[in-house]
Symmetry: C2
Subunit: 339 residues, 2 copies
């Protein structure tokens, strides 16, 4: 009973039986005398015996850990997804290990290597905005580690995927802006490489086309990142031009809020002079004045489903089921920032 934790050997010695018997008793092995079993269990309880997780992991070649790789967690978007993941995993035998890439491809590669070294059993990943190659993910798969991609797609990578129909969300938002009478609709897009950026842009373009509106190149701008600050300059360029738009469909709520901020500074009335629509529906977005129209995404469900898919893969083990691709439908939420 010294410093170290109590092991089955300690219990065995105490009871004058073999460690293996203790092991069997603890694991409810059928062929074990009721009395020994009870004696063992009682002593184990009394000594507060805890099975050694590390030893079990080594023995089973299974760390019971699932890696979760995300660009960042300070936005509500990813933190809500992670909460969904966590709530599912917490009720399983697994633990999750959250890794941040800070939107950097290089850091992502490092993190994946780390997870590989740690022998995680599965990985959930939303790639960094700079990630164009996916060989690091394939390296996981080659080692038998199932990979589930969520929110941001990895084109060409064969894996389970849980995505959002960004195209439909964007299309719906822009279609609504057209119907509400906007004639010059601009788009503040995200980092160009991202699947979400591409799909939302395409939804924007197709909605314009289907509404017989002309597409004006100068009404499309891109932001460098996803924070409020990243939206200020592009919004300013857009709104202070000689041919300003009368509506903005922004990549996300932060950017939309920056645009609102800039628009007001320039003397625009919202929504009278300009309509603004965001994407994500962050909790505080409805508290702005005017409250922000936006596209809601089922973030929590997205996290939960991603986690469930990994757990199922882990259960199947060797069975080779085809990859799943689940696509959630976002929903337009009309509030005060648009006509």
């Amino acid at each position: 009973m010294k410093k170290g934790r109590v092991t089955i050997t300690d219990i065995a010695r105490e009871l004058n039986i073999a460690p293996s018997t203790v092991s069997r008793a603890l694991n409810n092995h059928p062929a074990i005398k009721k009395e020994t079993k009870e004696a063992v269990k009682e002593l184990a309880q009394q000594l507060d015996y805890q099975p050694n997780f590390l030893a079990l992991s080594l023995l089973r070649k299974k760390s019971n850990t699932i890696g979760v790789v995300v660009p960042e967690i300070t936005s509500h978007f990813f933190s809500a997804i992670i909460t969904g993941i966590q709530d599912v995993i917490a009720n399983s035998e697994y633990n999750i290990m959250i890794c941040l890439t800070n939107e950097s491809f290089e850091e992502e590669v490092v993190v994946i290597k780390k997870l590989l070294k740690m022998q995680v059993d599965g990985v959930l990943v939303s790639p960094a905005s700079g990630t164009k190659e996916f060989d690091h993910f394939r390296a996981l798969q080659k080692n038998g580690i199932p990979v589930v991609v969520f929110d941001r797609d990895c084109p060409g990578l064969e894996a389970d995927k849980v995505l959002v129909d960004d195209y439909a969300g964007a299309f719906q938002a822009v279609e609504y802006l057209i119907k509400s009478g906007c004639k010059k609709i601009a788009h503040l897009g995200g980092p160009p490489n991202l699947s979400t950026t591409k799909h939302r842009l395409q939804g924007f373009l197709d909605a314009l086309k289907s509404g017989n509106m002309s597409i004006c190149e100068e009404h499309i701008a891109y932001v460098q990142g996803f924070s409020h600050e990243d939206g200020l300059e592009p919004a300013m360029t857009l709104l202070s031009s000689s041919n300003p738009p009368d509506a903005i469909f922004a990549m996300n709520d932060n950017i939309a809020i920056s645009a609102m901020h800039v628009a007001r500074k320039l003397g625009y009335n919202i929504p009278e002079d300009i309509s603004i629509v965001g994407f994500d529906d962050e909790p505080h977005s409805s508290f702005f004045r005017p409250s922000l129209s936006t596209v809601w995404q089922p973030v929590y469900s997205l996290g939960m489903l991603s986690a469930r898919i990994v757990l199922q893969r882990l259960k199947e083990d060797d069975v080779q089921r085809p990859f799943r691709e689940e696509v959630f439908k976002p929903e337009l939420v009309i509030r005060g920032s648009s006509r």
Copy 2:
């Protein structure tokens, strides 16, 4: 070279040497022939040998993992702290395991047990709002696991602590409100048990006292949680009473924003009729109209310092240095929601 990962035994067999020699070569043991060393390293590289983390952990009785326990991560506050922690830990030999308690004492106990079972080497924790006893944390310490408490204090628990001077922050905010001419200052406090709630309340009370203002019980209300929704009803009660306040000092930005929302609905002009000050300085707070006056906290630094302290404890090992208690100073940020 079948499914399993390549081990030092594989390399040893290939080279007709002993596994222990391979181990020494890989670890740059001084007494080892240059040629064997090079041969081993080359083959290891070629075979993409990865040391087995699990085996090492078992051998060293050290998981190289640090547990991080927080109530939630959807607020910017905790997610920014975690980002700070992660940025420090990422440059060490350790990994972090983030666990959410959802502000529940019961879940917190479960999570701590899990971390104990996983044999984490250290734990960073910010207790749930319902946590009043700390025996589960003491259980960690008894097992030789250093505990660092951050942001929310655990009174009576002997441990390293990284806190914020909530009292000073609150005092400063309320003192400012008094100086700006407010006569009836209300407080929207948090869940009563939390150290942060208590200290901010005390700062509020003492500032009133030092300003020779009377303290009006009906101008103090409490919210159940920290989201926008939690602030609506208490704010409504406060503002629709027969004796409404002309200023509100709120527990955090979310609650302050709810109060602004309610105030506007009731026809108040901000800040002419009522001043509102929050706490936290969330990134979007400056984008509200009027922009929110609030108390800024050095969240990222708080996370970094907490992580550094744990790392140092882990390095010291057996040395019994006295516990540290670091207190960060918050800063009042005056913006448009106050006179």
